[in-house]
Symmetry: C2
Subunit: 319 residues, 2 copies
Amino acid sequence: MSQTKYAIGVDLGGTTVKLGIVSDKGKIVQKIALDTCALDGPEKVVKQIKKGIKELLGNNKRKIEGIGVGAPGLVILKKGTVENPPNLPGWGRVQLGKRLEKEFNYPVFVENDANAAAVGEMIFGAGKKHDNFIMVTLGTGVGGGLILNKKVYRGETGAAGEIGHVSINREGRLCNCGMPGCIEAYAGNNHLVNIVNEQLPERTDSLLYKWINDEEKVLDPKLIHEAAQQDDKFACEVITEFACNLGSGLASIINLLDVSTVIIGGGVAGFGDRLFDAVKDKIKERVLKPIAPRIKVKAARLKNEAGIKGASSLVFLRG
Amino acid sequence: MSQTKYAIGVDLGGTTVKLGIVSDKGKIVQKIALDTCALDGPEKVVKQIKKGIKELLGNNKRKIEGIGVGAPGLVILKKGTVENPPNLPGWGRVQLGKRLEKEFNYPVFVENDANAAAVGEMIFGAGKKHDNFIMVTLGTGVGGGLILNKKVYRGETGAAGEIGHVSINREGRLCNCGMPGCIEAYAGNNHLVNIVNEQLPERTDSLLYKWINDEEKVLDPKLIHEAAQQDDKFACEVITEFACNLGSGLASIINLLDVSTVIIGGGVAGFGDRLFDAVKDKIKERVLKPIAPRIKVKAARLKNEAGIKGASSLVFLRG
C-alpha cells in the first residue's frame, strides 16, 4: 500500500475551472477543465465546481485528504467565503468553502489565487527551503503573496500581498487602480506591449519591427522574449528596463520586510535568466547594504499547472 | 498591597543612557540619565548601563518583573545581542541581554529602539486597541516598526520595519543610505530644513523669512511648525508637501500589508492636526479603494519618555 496522500485542487478562473487530483509530492494524477459559466451567475459557477469535483471523485480510488480552492477576489478564511471576485460578475459573497464541505464531506480550504500560488511554491516548488519569501506573479496584472514564517501573511482582511500596488514613483505612470506609479503600471504585460508599440516606429532596425510590420506577427510578451533571445537590442532594452522597475519596487518591499527571497512566476517569468539577473542586480543595488548579499531571485517551479497545484497545496499546508 | 507590576526600561542612546522604573500602567516612578560614554568603547557603555540599573535598584522596594532595553542597531533576540549600532563606535557585537541577566538575575529583553517604541505604543499608548499597526518615528531619520498580530514583526534578521527606506520615487532625491527616493529623503528633518532654506530667498513675504533673516532665529522643524500655526502660507505648504510624501509612501506599505492603522511619533509628529490630516488624506487618496474607509492615522502617545517606556514595555509584552 502506498503512503502517498492526495488532495483535490480547484483553480477557479473567470473563463475556466480547472480541477485535478494532486499527490503530496505535487504530481497531478488526473485533471479536468470545465467552463466557469461566469455570466450565468454564482449559483451556476458553484454547480460547475461541484460537477467537476464529482467527476474527479467518480472513479477515484485514492485517499483524498481534502479540497483546496484558489479563487479570485477577497477570501475570508472562516466559511471559505469568496467576495467580489473581479471577473465573476454578480457574485457578491458566496460561502464557497462551507457549501463544498457540506456537499462532499471533506475538509475544504479556500484561499485567494495569488496566495494559493505562493503556498504551491512553498509546498511543492521553489519556496520549499524558505521560511520567508515574496511571491510575484507577472501577467496582465502583477499579483503577489507574502510567505512569512511558513504561513501566508493575509493582513487585516485577507487582502495583503498587493505587490503590484506598491508605487515606485509617486508622480509616475497611471495604474489601472487609478493611482500613479504602481509596480503593476510598469511590470504588467500591457505596459510591456505599450512601450514596444510606442517606440517601434523609431526602432526600424529591430527584429521586433521586422516581425510586427513585415511579417505581421502579433506583439505580445512572448514575441519580445523571442527577439531578446536572438539578442535584439531593442527587445533586450525593454526587458532590462522592465526588470529595473520591478527590482526597484521589490527593493523597497525587501527593506520593509527583511525578507530576502523573491520567487517570480507568471508568463513573463519565462523570459529566463536575462530577466532574473536584471531583477536581482537591481534589487542588490537598491536594498540596504546588510541585506544585499542574501538576496535570492528564483523562478517559480509550478508553471502551467500552478493553479491546480497551488489550490491542492492548501490542503497539505493546513490539513 | 498593591498589585501593580514594575519593570526597568533602559533607553540606550548615542549620547545618553536613560533609565527608569515604569509601572505596568506606563507610569515612570523613578528615572535617571547617564552619559553613554560611547567614545570609550562598548565595555564602558555596558558599565554605564549597569551603573544606572544598580542606582535604580538601590533604594527600590517595588517588585521588578524584568529589564527591557531599547538599543540602536540590529538586535538578535537570542542572548539579546546588539550588533553594530550606528552611533556607538567600535561596538561590534555585544551580548548585552545575557550580560545584564547574569549581573542582575532578572529576565532581560533587548529590542531595537524603533521596535521598542512600537511595543511601547501597543502596551501603553495609541496602539492599545490595535492588533496591527505601522509605527513611524520622524526625526533626523525616518524609523519604523511593524506590529502584526500584536507582535513585533522582525523579518529574517530583526531588521524589518525600515519604513524610511521604502522609495517613493525610483529616480528621486538621494537618501543618506545612497539610494534614490527613500521616504527618509523626503520626510526626515534635514529635508524639511533644506527645502525651506532652498526656497526662502523667494519667500520674502513669509513669517519664516522674517524670523530667520531679521530676527536670526534658528531654522528647525519646530520653527516651521510655529509659523504654520500662525497660518504662514509658506510653512503650511512645506508641511503639506512633507505629509503628501509621507502619505504616498505609507499608502504603498498599507497596500502591501493590509494594515490600516498608522501611528506617528517623533518630534515632527508634534506638528499636530495639520500634519496628521494631510497624511491621512493622502493615504486615503492613494490606497486601494476597499482599504480607504478603514485608514486611521494617530499621534504616538508616549512623547518625550517614549524611549524608557518603550524599553520597559518589552518586559510587560514578553514577560
